[in-house]
Structure formats: C-alpha cells, structure tokens
Symmetry: C2
Amino acid sequence: MENNELPADVALMWRLRETPRRGPKPSLTLDDIVASAIAIADAEGLAAVSMARVAERLGNSTMALYRHVKSKDDLLVIMSDAAIERPEPMPEGVDWRTGLTFWADGVLTAIRRHPWYAKVPISGPPAGPNNLAWFDSALGVLADTGLPEEAKVGVVMGLITYVQGQIRMAFDLAAGYADNPDAFRRFGATLRKVADPRVYPAVVRTVEAGVFDEVGSFEEDNEADFDFGLQLYLDGVAAFIDRVG
Amino acid sequence: MENNELPADVALMWRLRETPRRGPKPSLTLDDIVASAIAIADAEGLAAVSMARVAERLGNSTMALYRHVKSKDDLLVIMSDAAIERPEPMPEGVDWRTGLTFWADGVLTAIRRHPWYAKVPISGPPAGPNNLAWFDSALGVLADTGLPEEAKVGVVMGLITYVQGQIRMAFDLAAGYADNPDAFRRFGATLRKVADPRVYPAVVRTVEAGVFDEVGSFEEDNEADFDFGLQLYLDGVAAFIDRVG
DNA sequence: CCTTACTGCGTACCTGCTACGCTATTTAGC
DNA sequence: GCTAAATAGCGTAGCAGGTACGCAGTAAGG
C-alpha cells in the first residue's frame, strides 16, 4: 500500500502494484485483458466490447476479469490510454507552429488506428502515462514562446478540444454515412424541400450555391476541414503570442 | 406518403405527417414523449433516460412509445433537437466577430440548460429545425464578410466543433469532479509523485509552476477557458478574412 | 355494418453489468 | 513441513434495459 493516495485506476495504468502476492499465480494479466478489449474495439467498435466478449476471447470466464479491473468503465479508461501509444519524438529545432501541426497530425494518425478512442467518455484530466506524454509533447513545443505556463496549458487544452472534437465529429459522420449513404447524398435535396428561405435565409443561400451538392469524397473533405480549422486556431495562437509572449 | 424521400426521423422532427388517420385516437403525442424524456434527462442525466422511465412518467406502457418513435436512438435525436430551442435573434448591424461571440455564448447558455445535449451521439448533419436555425444564425453573421459560401460553412463547422467539444469536455470534467473531488484536488500531487521529469519535462515544469495547485473554482475556470480558446479561434478567422475575403 | 388501419400493451427474449460466495492454489510464518 | 492467510478463477443469479411479436380493442371509410 505504498501508493496510498492514488485512485485505483490511475495506479493500474502506471503499473504500480506491490509485487509480492500470496495466492495462486494469475493466469491472466491486465495487459492481456487490455489487448483483448482493444482488438475487439478495433474490429467491431466500442459497442462490441463487453466483459463477456473480452473474457471469451481469452478463454476465461467473464468474472475473472474483475480480479484485475474494478469495473467496465475502469477498463475503458485503461484501454484508451494504452491505445493512444506515445507521440513520435518532436523533430529538433522546429518552431512552435510547425511543431503543433506535427503534433495534431500525429493525434489524427494515432486515433485513426483506434477510432473508438474518441468515444470513450472522459472523466478527468489525462492521468494515464500515454495521454500525459501527448500532453507533455504539446507543452514542450511551446517552451520557447515565452508564454506563462498557465497560458501554455490553455493553448494546449484548446487545441486538444478542437482536435478531439473534430475527430469525433468526423467519425460520427462517417459512421452515419456508412449506415445510410442516401440520406447524406440527399441532404441538400432535403434542405431544398424543407427549409423555408424566410426562416433559414443563410442556409438556403448556401444550398443554392451548391455547397452541399457534392459530398462525394468523404475522407479528403474531412482531412481538408481538419487542417482548415486547425490553421485558424493556430493563427489565433500566433496573435496571442505576439500580444503576450 | 407525400414526404416520400425523407428519412423517418427527419420527417418526424419537422412534423410532416399525413393528418387523416383511421384507427383510435392516440392518447400519446410525440411532444409528450419528447417532453418526458427531456425532463428525465434534465433531472438525472442522459443515462437515466430509458424507454421504461419515459413511459412510466406518462402513465403508459413501455411499448406504447414504439408507435411514435422507431427506436431509442430516434428519440435521442429528436429530443436533442427539441432541447436546443432557437437562438436569440442576432442584434442588428453587429460585426461578424461580435456576432459569433454572441452566438457562441448563446450556445453555451442553451446547452447549460440541458447539459446532456453534448452527449447525444451525432449521426449526421444537423437535420432538425432547431439545430438548423443555429447553423443558419452563425452563417448569417458571416454574410457581409465576402467569404465564399463554402468557406463560411468551414468556419462555422470549425466553430461548432470547438464550442461543442469544449462544452462536452467541461461537463465531463465537472461530472468527474462531482464524483470524486479529491482525485481532482490531488491531480497536481499525483503528477508530482508519478511523473518523471526526464519523461515528462514540460508537464513537470508546469506542475512546478503551480498551475494545477488551485483547481478551486471550477465554473469560472471553464468560462475563462471557453472564452480564451474561442478568441484564439476568432483571431484565426479574422486573419483568414483578411487574406481571402 | 363490415372492413381496414391503427393504437395500446402484455409477454417474452436477449444482451450486458456485476455482487456474492465457493473452491483451489500459493506463499508467509512458525 | 505445516497451518493460516491471501488471492485467482468462476458459477450462479439478480437486475436493468431494448425491442420483436402478436392480440385486442377502436375509429374511420365504404
């Protein structure tokens, strides 16, 4: 009990546990469980992850898992930290803007490998080792900007929010698109039919301009949108650094 | 069947339905169901909304709901559109920056009344009348900027992403804080104990600077963070308008 | 008046989380 | 060694939640 003050799940993620145990050797390790859960989520989505499925895949019974994990929510937190891995080391000597763009692209790439990551409900600050490494990487890029520490945290939190929000929305939309491509292709048509120009003047103007007519290439659109919004945000950061840094 | 091409839930939200019916008078209306579901979500959160609870609150049986709604997911989409109401009319003659700030504050206020709104999974573009009204309001503010329609959509989508992401994160954190205030208060202490300065140099530097030491006033912190990130994004929009508009 | 469409709802099934307690196993201490 | 304590696996069972199905009763159309 030397890790007295830490919440149980945090202690688990950092692998802090008294090693000398008395009972029988565990036939199951936390790593096995997490790997199994991640494999299922990768293949069939987060909704397919049930305690029964995870255990079955390991040839164990459902309840055996509860010797290693407090609850399913616990498992979700731990597996999301494991799935995000570590960021690539930041190239030496990059300016902050290049660095944050590199960082954001890295997040996008990492989450692409585990799309369900963006769906895990967040219940606190990033307490796992991998999430913390990402946080550290972004903070480090801002080291030479002269911003006060608190402002750096604000900038990075805003960036995380934007990036995760964008990714979540993109994947939700992609899922909806896969479920029902027609509904999307007819979004413009639907608006034309249903949107009164007196109530929705700006939307109708946009529809008339044909913006929603070609929703064809979904992947590239999202990539472009992602970068577009990111650069807007970074422009804002630049202005902020000029003002304060 | 004059609304031939529309998905069922969209038709429901816009209240397009053939009026002449043959069977017995419905003792239940969609509005009742939605209002009941919203009341439960407001009082006890989205997780407390079950078909059984919604029906019980109306003095009906669970299965009666399925005559009005295709599935629970259907109900969630419809109730989220109903909950967001309409934006306040934009003051006349405001510049775009004031307008978008006003808009974002409006979103924040509206979602504060129904915090669960940010948790409803998004499965498509904003197809309901109220969500579309918000979309229209933000687009309208950009009317005089000279941006091409497509760019306006990009700016507004980015803004929505940021605002919703920020709100979702804030509420998730607030919920985690309510569940376990100690874990939060000790976040800085936890990092000190667990974070190796060689692995997490930037985080440790921030911790040493005392940024995480006073997490006291949660509400105001979030308000400030929200505005901070928003202004960064709007700075970016300003730069974009200078460049392109 | 009979047919038809439609509403409410009871029943039942399935999936999923997890509390509890039993049994077997390993190690610590004597 | 031997006993007691601690611990792993797991079977059972309870509970909650979504929803398919089919029956019964009701109101409008012909």
